[in-house]
């Protein structure tokens, strides 16, 4: 016998025209008020999408590609400009570079890493456990086990921040 939960799982595919109700499912839907409400909701979700304005996708892709080309061109010009400037003012550039603090002369920028002092208190096994949880998708393990903060939307986050910052 089809359960309401199974019905809900089937609804998106049926609403999108990718599947059809079986006889049993159709019968269940006809007799279940809760499933009817959910079916109505899923159909509305699909319908919301269908109200989106028709896009001129050729124009969109042309605009996107245009922006990408412009950006690449700008990067090339900047590099060329820099080289020209250095070549033209070699003596001055040498003086300037010699005054620059050592760390800015590195070709690889120093990586930004947020230090977490609390990690100092953990042993290797515990650190590995925390690392595994970071690797796991959000929601797995215990990193998402406390509902509330992680589920707050932007408005609620803003209110929380205001209450804490005063």
């Amino acid at each position: 016998m089809t359960s309401c939960e199974e019905m809900l799982e089937r609804m998106p595919a049926v609403a999108l025209g990718e599947a059809q109700w079986t006889k049993e499912e159709a019968l269940h839907l006809a007799g279940c008020v809760s499933c009817q409400a959910e079916w109505s909701l899923i159909q509305k979700a699909v319908a919301v999408g269908s109200q989106a304005p028709a896009l001129d996708l050729e124009k969109t892709s042309a605009a996107v590609l245009g922006r990408l080309r412009a950006e690449r061109r700008e990067r090339r010009l900047r590099r060329a400009g820099l080289l020209t400037g250095l070549a033209a003012a070699a003596a001055v550039a040498l003086v300037v570079w010699s005054r620059v603090p050592h760390h800015t002369q590195r070709t690889v920028p120093e990586a930004f890493r947020i230090p977490v002092a609390e990690l100092d208190s953990l042993d290797n096994g515990e650190l590995e456990s925390v690392l595994q949880d970071l690797d796991a998708p959000l929601g797995a393990g215990t990193l998402n086990s406390t509902p509330g903060l992680g589920d707050l939307d932007d408005v609620q986050l803003e209110r929380l921040l205001r209450s804490l910052e005063g």
Partner: protein, 165 residues
């Protein structure tokens, strides 16, 4: 709503010996680095930080990290002193214990306040939603650290209870 200012207060509980061992262990250093790198990547993505925001955040978090590390060191010294006073078979000096207790409590308040001050400093370059997102992300990480610490403390207590005659 749960007062998550209490969460950092738990972090007074650092074993001095363990901390010293960890400071010298390359594997531990590597693990901490990996955790911090992945956490940072997540923060950068979730907050959609600009280069300027990243630069400023780098300075903020480094400064507050050093301050909190100093607080952790101070807390370790206080705990060692307290452990010295509370040794079995030794009469504790009540005045010293009271002063140490006050100092530890005051330190906990300063520690908790440091998170608030850090976030306030970020208001100079992060918008309210970004600041809240940062708080949530860090809260999650710290919560997980607290959980693994509690698991260790629980198993240590159980071990000690089993060892008792």
């Amino acid at each position: 709503m749960r007062n998550f200012w209490l969460v950092p207060l738990v972090f007074g509980l650092v074993s001095p010996l363990a901390a010293q061992e960890l400071a010298d262990d390359p594997r531990a250093s590597d693990l901490r680095r990996q955790i911090e790198e992945r956490f940072t990547a997540r923060v950068k993505e979730e907050l959609a930080l600009t280069d300027q925001q990243t630069t400023r955040m780098k300075s903020t978090v480094r400064d507050w990290f050093l301050k909190r590390r100093g607080m952790e060191d101070e807390n370790r010294r206080l705990r060692e002193a307290m452990a010295g006073q509370l040794r079995p078979g030794v009469a504790a000096n009540k005045d010293s214990v009271a002063k140490l207790t006050d100092a530890m409590l005051e330190l906990k308040v300063r520690y908790a306040q440091s998170f608030k001050d850090e976030i306030k400093e970020m208001s100079g370059y992060l918008d309210p939603v970004q600041r809240a997102q940062f708080m949530v992300l860090r809260e999650r990480l710290i919560e997980r650290v607290r959980e693994v610490r509690e698991q260790r403390d629980d198993s240590t207590s159980r071990f000690r209870r089993r060892q008792q005659p």
